[in-house]
C-alpha cells in the first residue's frame, strides 16, 4: 500500500498526488513511469513520475482525470492509499550534457517534460520551456520549470502569457537557431505538430508516447507503436521516441480503442458518485 501524503489541484482536471514509494523514489530516472492500480477491480494505468523526494521516500503522480479510473484516483485524499505501484518502468531519457534544449509541454504533458527539464538543467544544459493551456487556469508546473530556465507560457485564449499555441513559440525558437534538442510532450496532435515543425530545421525531437498498457514490461504488446516503420513497445523501448519517425496517426487510432467503454464507465461512475454524494 502506498500512502498519499499530499494532494494538490493543479488545473481544473489535473491533480498531483504525492505518494510513498521509497524504492522508486530512490532509483527512478527522468523519463520513467509507473503502473498504478488503485485497488481490487481497478485498472492498471501508466503514470509518469513527475518528481521525487528521495529523503521523504515519495514520488509525485500528476493525473489528468479523463476516465473512471483516473477520476477514482484523483478523488483519493491524503491519508488514503493506492494499493499497487510498479516501477520505475521505461527507458530513461537520454540526457544532453551541454547545449540548448527546448522543452515543450502541453496540458498534463507539462508534468512529464518537467523532470527532463530539471535533469537537463542539472547537467548544465540551457533549458527553454514552452508550456501551454487553454487558459491561465490550465497552465501547470510553471514555477517549477522556471527553476530550470526560461519559461514561455502560451494560452489559447490569451488569458495568460502569449496568446496562441505552443507551436508558434517553438517556431520562433527554431528560427532563432542554436537548439540541440526539442522535447515535445503532450496531446498527440501537439506532439505531431511540434515534430512536423522541427523537421525542416533538422532538430532532434523527442516525444513521449502514452499508449495503452497493461503490464508495462513488454509482455502484452498492447502499447505497440510504429516508429520508422518498425513496431516498438512504448513500455520498454520507450516511452520516448524520435518524433520525426513516429506514426502519430496510428498512435491516435490505437488510443481510442476503448473510447466507448470509457464513456460508459465514466457515465456510470459519475452517476454513482453523484448518488453517493446526495446521500
Amino acid at each position: 500500500m502506498h500512502l498519499i501524503v499530499a494532494k494538490a489541484q493543479l488545473s481544473p482536471n489535473v491533480t498531483r498526488l504525492v505518494v510513498e514509494a521509497p524504492r522508486i523514489a530512490e532509483i527512478r530516472r527522468p523519463g520513467q513511469f509507473v503502473i498504478v492500480r488503485r485497488g481490487p477491480g481497478g485498472e492498471r494505468i501508466p503514470l509518469t513520475i513527475a518528481d521525487v523526494d528521495k529523503a521523504a521516500g515519495t514520488i509525485s503522480l500528476v493525473i489528468q482525470a479523463i476516465g473512471k479510473s483516473t477520476h477514482e484516483l484523483t478523488s483519493l485524499n491524503v491519508g488514503e492509499a493506492i494499493q499497487d505501484i510498479a516501477g520505475p518502468l521505461g527507458t530513461p531519457t537520454h540526457l544532453l550534457t551541454s547545449g540548448h534544449a527546448v522543452c515543450v509541454g502541453g496540458g498534463v504533458g507539462t508534468a512529464v517534460v518537467y523532470p527532463i527539464a530539471q535533469a537537463l538543467a542539472a547537467n548544465g544544459v540551457k533549458v527553454t520551456s514552452i508550456i501551454g493551456g487553454r487558459s491561465k487556469e490550465w497552465v501547470i508546473y510553471e514555477d517549477e520549470l522556471r527553476a530550470a530556465g526560461e519559461v514561455i507560457v502560451c494560452t489559447d485564449d490569451g488569458s495568460y502569457g502569449r496568446p496562441g499555441f505552443v507551436t508558434e513559440a517553438l517556431k520562433e525558437q527554431c528560427e532563432a537557431g542554436g537548439i540541440d534538442e526539442v522535447f515535445a510532450i503532450g496531446p498527440v496532435p501537439m506532439m505531431r505538430a511540434c515534430s512536423e515543425l522541427t523537421r525542416p530545421f533538422a532538430i532532434k525531437t523527442t516525444v513521449s508516447l502514452n499508449s495503452i498498457m497493461i503490464d508495462g514490461t513488454g509482455m502484452c504488446g498492447g502499447c505497440r507503436v510504429s516508429v520508422g516503420g518498425k513496431t516498438e513497445y512504448a513500455c520498454c523501448d520507450g516511452p520516448e521516441f524520435d518524433g520525426h519517425q513516429v506514426d502519430f496517426r496510428m498512435l491516435a487510432d490505437r488510443l481510442n480503442t476503448y473510447r466507448e467503454f470509457e464513456q460508459v464507465a465514466l457515465e456510470r461512475w459519475t452517476e454513482h458518485h453523484a448518488n453517493a454524494e446526495a446521500h
Partner: protein, 509 residues
C-alpha cells in the same frame, strides 16, 4: 475421453463396492480391476459453458474416484512415474485413495508435487503419465489427472488436517524471481527445507501464467490463490509489483540473498509480422488473456475493458490458442475460428482442449496461414487475408512443413484477431545482469544443476526452455530447489555439462 460414462459393468462394480468397507478395503483382484471402464470426467453442458466462465470440468465424485482408483494395476515397475516430469509416485497415491485413505493419498501426492490442483487440471497427461499407463495398451489408461485433481482438491479444502512439516530455520535466504509454476514449486520445496523464501513478482497478484494466461474455465483463480496461500502459510513472502531488471537488478538480489532462482517465464509475445497487425482489434494472446483473466474483463464490474469480437480469428494451434478461441466464444463471438497453418494431427494443444473447443462451437480452419490483417479507414479490423497450405517435407521439429498453395488466397471477414503463435524471451532481467550468460534467443544458459553463469543463481521454466508447459516448469522448480538446498549446504556437485535451451517451441502451457 468419451462424452458419457460407459455403464457396462457398473452394476457389478457397485456390488463389489457395497461388499467392502469404505476404509481399509481389501485390494481388488487384477481381473476385476481390468473389467472397470475409465470414468468420464463430469463436465458442464457444452452449450451452456460456451457462454460462461465457470469451470468446464466438474471433478470426480468420491464414488467415481474410488472406482477409477481401482482400475490401477499397481504395476511393480510403474512407467507412469517415469512419464511424470515431477516424478509423482502415482501408484502410491492411487492405492491409498482406493483403500479409502484420502489423507494418506494427499500426503503422498503433496510430498511429490507442490501444485497438484493445478497439474490435475492443466497437465497434458495424454503425452505423459497416461500415455505410458499399462492399461492404455489394451484400452484406456487410468485417469491419473482426474484422480490427482480429486485428491488435490480434497487436500486444499482440508488444510487443517495437515501437520506443519517444515524443517527448522536454516537462516539462509533465497530470492525467487517470478511466481509462476516454476517459482511457486521451488518456493514450496525450499520453505519446507527451512529456508527463508522471498518471491519477487512483477504483477499485483501471484501465479504468473496460472492467473494471467490460463482461463478461469480451465483453472479457477481461487484454486491458484489457495495454492499461493498454502505457500504463504509455510512462510513464503511475496513482494508484488517488483520487476527484476527495473525495481531491483539481479546482481542486487544476489548480494542480498544467499541464492536466487530465476523463473520469469518467456514473456514477450511473437507477432506474425504481416501488414495490418497494429490495427485496432488485433491482440496478442498475452494481452487478450491478461485482460480477461488477470484483470477480470469478462466481469462487467471490472474497470479493464476488452473488445468483444463477433467474428474472431485466433491464429495458432497451441493451448494458448485454445484458451483464446474458447474465451472469445464466452465473450459472445458468434463465430470463433482457430486458424492453424498445419493440420489437425500437428496441433500442439492438449487433446482435451481441442475436444472441448469443438464441443463449444469453435471452428477449426487447418492448413491456413494469414498474410495480412485488413482494416477500415478508422483503423478497425475487418478481415484476415489468408493463404491455403499443404504439408511438405518434415522440418527441424520433425513435423511436416506447411507449404503455400499458389493462388489460394482468401479473406476471412472478422472484427477481431488474436495472435497466439508463441512467445520469446523478455530481456528486462537479462539485459541488466551483465554476468548472466544467455543463448542467441535470449534464454538463460544453465548447467545440469540448473545453475547459471552467476554462482548461486539458478534458472528454470520458460526463460530457460522457451515456451513449454506448466509441469515442465514445475519440474525445474522442484529440481532447482533441491540443488539450491545442496548449494546452500556446500554440497552441490560439479556440473557434468552445460545444457542450452533448444530452439523455441511454441506449445506453451
Amino acid at each position: 475421453m468419451s462424452d458419457s460414462r460407459e455403464t457396462d459393468g457398473m452394476d457389478q462394480i457397485a456390488d463389489t463396492l457395497a461388499g467392502r468397507a469404505a476404509a481399509n478395503r481389501e485390494p481388488l483382484p487384477k481381473k476385476e480391476r481390468m473389467r472397470i471402464d475409465r470414468g468420464a470426467m463430469p463436465e458442464q453442458n457444452a452449450m451452456a459453458r460456451a457462454r460462461n466462465f465457470a469451470e468446464v470440468n466438474l471433478g470426480y465424485t468420491e464414488q467415481l474416484a474410488i472406482i477409477e482408483a481401482d482400475r490401477c494395476l499397481q504395476c511393480p515397475k510403474p512407467y507412469c512415474v517415469d512419464g511424470c516430469p515431477v516424478s509423482v509416485n502415482i501408484p502410491n497415491f492411487i492405492r491409498l485413495l482406493g483403500e479409502g485413505n484420502i489423507k494418506g493419498a494427499a500426503d503422498s501426492l503433496l510430498g511429490d508435487n507442490a501444485l497438484p490442483c493445478v497439474t490435475g487440471r492443466v497437465c497434458p497427461q495424454e503425452t505423459q503419465c497416461e500415455q505410458v499407463c499399462l492399461r492404455a495398451k489394451t484400452g484406456t489408461p487410468v485417469a491419473i489427472g482426474n484422480l490427482e485433481r480429486y485428491v488435490a482438491d480434497w487436500a486444499i479444502n482440508h488444510t487443517e488436517v495437515f501437520a506443519d512439516t517444515k524443517a527448522a530455520p536454516t537462516g539462509k535466504k533465497v530470492a525467487i524471481v517470478g511466481s509462476g509454476p516454476a517459482g511457486l514449486s521451488a518456493a514450496g520445496a525450499l520453505a519446507k527445507r527451512g529456508h527463508k523464501v522471498t518471491i519477487f513478482e512483477a504483477f499485483h497478484a501471484a501465479g504468473g501464467v496460472l492467473i494471467y494466461g490460463i482461463p478461469e474455465f480451465r483453472l479457477p483463480k481461487d484454486i491458484v490463490q489457495k495454492e499461493v496461500d498454502r505457500l504463504v502459510a509455510d512462510g513464503v513472502e511475496i513482494e508484488h509489483n517488483s520487476i527484476i531488471g527495473k525495481t531491483y537488478t539481479l546482481p542486487e538480489l544476489r548480494e542480498k540473498f544467499d541464492a536466487v532462482f530465476v523463473a520469469v517465464g518467456a514473456g514477450l509475445p511473437v507477432f506474425m509480422n504481416v501488414p495490418g497487425e497494429n490495427l485496432k482489434g488485433v491482440y496478442s494472446a498475452n494481452e487478450y488473456l491478461t485482460r480477461v483473466n488477470l484483470m477480470g474483463a469478462y466481469n462487467p464490474d471490472s474497470d479493464t475493458p476488452v473488445l468483444r469480437g463477433q467474428r474472431v480469428a485466433v491464429v495458432g494451434g497451441g493451448n494458448v490458442a485454445m484458451d483464446s478461441v474458447r474465451t472469445a466464444r464466452r465473450l459472445g463471438a458468434a463465430e470463433s475460428v482457430c486458424v492453424y497453418r498445419r493440420s489437425r494431427a500437428e496441433l500442439p494443444a492438449r487433446a482435451e482442449e481441442v475436444h472441448h473447443a469443438e464441443q463449444e462451437g469453435v471452428r477449426f480452419d487447418f492448413l491456413v496461414a494469414p498474410t495480412e490483417v485488413l482494416g477500415d479507414e478508422k483503423g478497425w479490423v475487418t478481415g484476415l487475408k489468408c493463404v491455403r497450405m499443404e504439408l511438405g517435407e518434415p522440418d527441424a521439429s520433425g513435423r511436416r512443413r506447411p507449404v503455400e498453395i499458389p493462388g489460394s488466397e482468401f479473406v476471412f471477414p472478422c472484427d477481431m484477431v488474436v495472435v497466439a503463435i508463441g512467445t520469446k524471451s523478455n530481456p528486462l532481467l537479462t539485459s541488466t545482469s551483465p554476468d548472466l550468460r544467455v543463448n542467441k534467443w535470449g534464454y538463460i544458459e544453465i548447467d545440469d544443476n540448473l545453475q547459471t553463469s552467476m554462482p548461486g543463481v539458478f534458472a528454470g521454466g520458460d526463460i530457460v526452455r522457451g515456451a513449454a508447459t506448466v509441469i515442465l516448469a514445475m519440474g525445474d522448480g522442484k529440481k532447482a530447489a533441491a540443488n539450491i538446498d545442496a548449494y546452500l549446504r556446500g554440497e552441490l556437485p560439479a556440473p557434468v555439462a552445460a545444457t542450452a535451451a533448444e530452439s523455441p517451441d511454441h506449445a506453451a502451457h
